[in-house]
Amino acid sequence: MAGVVPTPTGSAPEAAVSRTAAHTRDERFRAFLPSRPWQWLLVPFCAVMALAVAEHAAVSMQQSGPSRVTRPDAARFAVAENLVDADFQGALHRADSDLSWARNRVRNAPGQWLKQESLATAQMQRFSLTHDYAALAEAGKLLDDAHANAPAGSGPWLRQASFAMMTHDLSLAEAALDGAGAMAVPPPASDRAEMTAMRGDIALYRGDMATASARYTEAARTDPTRSFAFRGAMLSRARGDFDSAIALFARAARESASSREARARIALQIGVSENARGHGESAQEWYDAAETLFPGSPITMAHRAEALALAGDMAAGMALMEQVAQDHGWPEAMDALAMMHRFSGDRAQSLQWADRAAAIWGQRLRQAPLAAQAHAAEHELAFGDPARALALARANLAVRQDGASRLLMANALIANGRYAHARRELQLAVDAGWRSAPIYAAMSQAAALAGDKDGAANARERALAINPAIFNPETALAWFSHG
């Protein structure tokens, strides 16, 4: 190492080298900076241009939208012979016999909460087929009795949570889930997963999509053997992601639909999703597939009737809808039929069916107000009193703050001339993540009524990007599948 003399730190030559390096770095940095004053203009100008391009790209992406049309998939929806209940009548017959058997058990062992819970379950099952609110009311009373008879640390908590979700009573559902979580014998993983998923449902109905999504993921982790694809599909559809929703519905059909009825309901939901993005023909095929899977179901008949009317075959649509209204006494079907008659300009027929529906909605509002008030508001808006519609929509919004409830409220507000408030409600739905053609269509309408031509045009574009058929006059006929 002889002859090598270490240079002291900070010596003049090294400092000079360091200064030179710094100078070079500085020079390089300066080379990137604008050298002339006018070049400074480019910075904000570029920012403005970037904003404009980003906006243009965002609008283009929205306008291109999902366009893939789905058809009923024979492989995914294949009907296995061992699936129970070949058709609606068969299912109804089984529900009736289950009910009669459960009623006998309660009669033979009065005061036993497990048997009362079984009878309540049979009533709920029958309700899901018939929409008979008397059955639902009896189920609620039976669950209350079962609670009274159950020893501390037990009780039909989970069943009550299911019942509360059916009646849209979110507070009761939450309390029941709390009760289920505090039972003396901890629920198994499958029940715990379902409880978590139900909390997700509650969050979704309250307008909190993020929490709903998190709960569904947590539920899937709690019991990996269970499928929560159906719920994920509903969430995706609420977000306007129809491709994902349809894929998840198909997965739900494979993974969790163990009956023809369940598969038919999933086929209907896919049809509704297709209709929501303007694929009426595909929707009709899915409704027909649902009929093949589970023939004779009134809910399927109502969807098919509506699809026929939307496709222009008003006579066939009316005939089928009238069959549902007459045979099953559903007020939704009566309202849909009244709207078909209104669309045809037949006031007498329209009012006749609307009046029949009004009487049933009045009865249902007494039996299960939380479950009926949104539908009753919808009826009032089309055939009744706008002020009453607003009161019902407001009551509904007080318990459920999801996109559909805000849209109903906005439409009631529009009917009462409160456009600014309607726009706020719709904006809240969009801010919370809801995307649908009816939301943007209502936004457009409210903006137009408020005199905001640009706002109306902008919302109209967004509505059309989701569903190109949304502003067609026939859309008023969509009572079951507005999506």
């Binding site: 403005v48 059916m166 919808e378 808006l381 089309a382 706008p386 009917a415 905001d452 640009d454 008023a476």
Partner: protein, 363 residues
């Protein structure tokens, strides 16, 4: 039945009301009459009236009687104007059949200034979710003045205000916006804060002379004015639809940058150019505001100019209050700490706005 299956069945059909076809009425005012062009969806007419929608003689007579009973126009003193319905027919304009008609209301002498009150019960008297959109034609354009529906079947309107009134209203809107939109003013104030100073070796080193300072300030204010005027007019006339979130965030950023510049020179001597550049961004915010507040101002050059003049007048008023004390203070020893403190406060405000506005950009 498992809980999961019950849960699937518990998802009910949502209810949120329907889009139904509605009526449209466009009012034209001329010196001697009011003309109303009417479009009513034929099915809604047939449903509401129980009449047939057709072009037969009886059907048209029924329609004429139906409309005549449900439309009245009155003057400010309550006098009902006579009405003549013309060009009545059922025809397809776009989509299904419509009932089309034109109603004429001759005006008595001296009554053309309005206000007028239109009572409209066509269809809405018996259909709760039907409304008629009422527009007022103004040259080739028409603007919505409101709607009538079952709960409110009256609407009052006056002919369009004069160009001068519109101009003054636009100027007032511009002035109010700048007076209440502190970000625009703080951006300008931050630029002016260091305007009496010249930089050397990346520090504010000397105080400019009075004339030089005024010249420099004039350049900044002019640059800002030119910048925001260009984008305000371009966005208004070009009907740009920029999202407010990113624009507002950029404005907050402009406040932060200029506030930092007031503390330590970042772009000394180029303030006028920076004011022009960021002025372009501020102009976009003005355009968004004016489009939200009044679309008639937004797409009309004279009213846009009025809006801009309102901004400038308010700006000049603020400058008249701020510049003299600033020039006086700049020659005092305490100015340096005051400038740094002022710059820091403005920078903090800018950061706070940036923090508030960035989520909208990310979303």
């Amino acid at each position: 039945m498992t809980f999961a299956v019950l849960a699937m069945l518990s998802w009910s059909e949502s209810a949120f009301a329907h889009l139904t076809p509605n009526s449209e009425v466009t009012l034209h005012l001329s010196g001697d009459r009011v003309e109303a062009q009417i479009i009513v969806p034929a099915a809604e007419y047939a449903y509401a009236s129980s009449h047939r929608a057709g072009n037969g003689e009886t059907d048209l007579a029924d329609a004429r009687k139906y409309l005549a009973r449900r439309i009245t126009l009155t003057t400010a003193d309550g006098a009902t104007l006579p009405m003549r319905i013309d060009q009545l027919r059922f025809a397809q304009v776009a989509g299904p059949l419509d009932l089309l008609a034109t109603a004429y209301f001759p005006l008595p002498a001296g009554k053309s200034a309005g206000p007028f009150s239109l009572r409209w019960s066509v269809v809405v008297d018996s259909v709760p979710d039907h409304f008629a959109l009422i527009s007022l034609a103004d040259g080739g354009e028409s603007r919505v003045i409101g709607a009538v529906r079952q709960t409110d079947q009256n609407i009052t309107f006056t002919p369009d205000p004069s160009m001068f009134t519109s101009f003054v209203r636009a100027a007032w809107l511009g002035a109010i916006h700048v007076a209440t939109g502190f970000d625009h003013l703080l951006f300008l104030m931050a630029l002016l804060l260091a305007a009496p100073l010249a930089a050397r070796d990346k520090r504010w080193s000397r105080v400019r002379g009075l004339r030089e300072s005024l010249y420099h300030m004039g350049g900044i204010v002019t640059g800002f004015t030119v910048g925001h005027s260009v984008t305000l007019v371009a966005a208004g006339l070009g009907n740009w639809h920029l999202q407010t979130g990113p624009v507002e965030a950029l404005i907050a950023l402009s406040v932060v940058v200029t506030a930092c510049h007031a503390i330590r020179p970042i772009f000394p001597g180029r303030e006028a150019w920076v004011a022009t550049g960021f002025g372009l961004v501020h102009g976009l915010a003005f355009a968004t505001l004016v489009a939200e507040a009044d679309t008639n101002i937004a797409h009309n050059l004279p009213t846009l100019v009025g809006f801009n003049i309102g901004i400038e007048l308010l700006q000049l008023a603020v400058l008249a209050c701020v510049v003299p004390p600033l020039l006086w203070l700049a020659r005092r020893a305490q100015f340096a700490p005051m400038r740094v403190a002022g710059g820091a406060i403005v920078a903090l405000c800018g950061c706070w706005w940036l923090y508030q506005r960035l989520p909208a950009v990310i979303a």
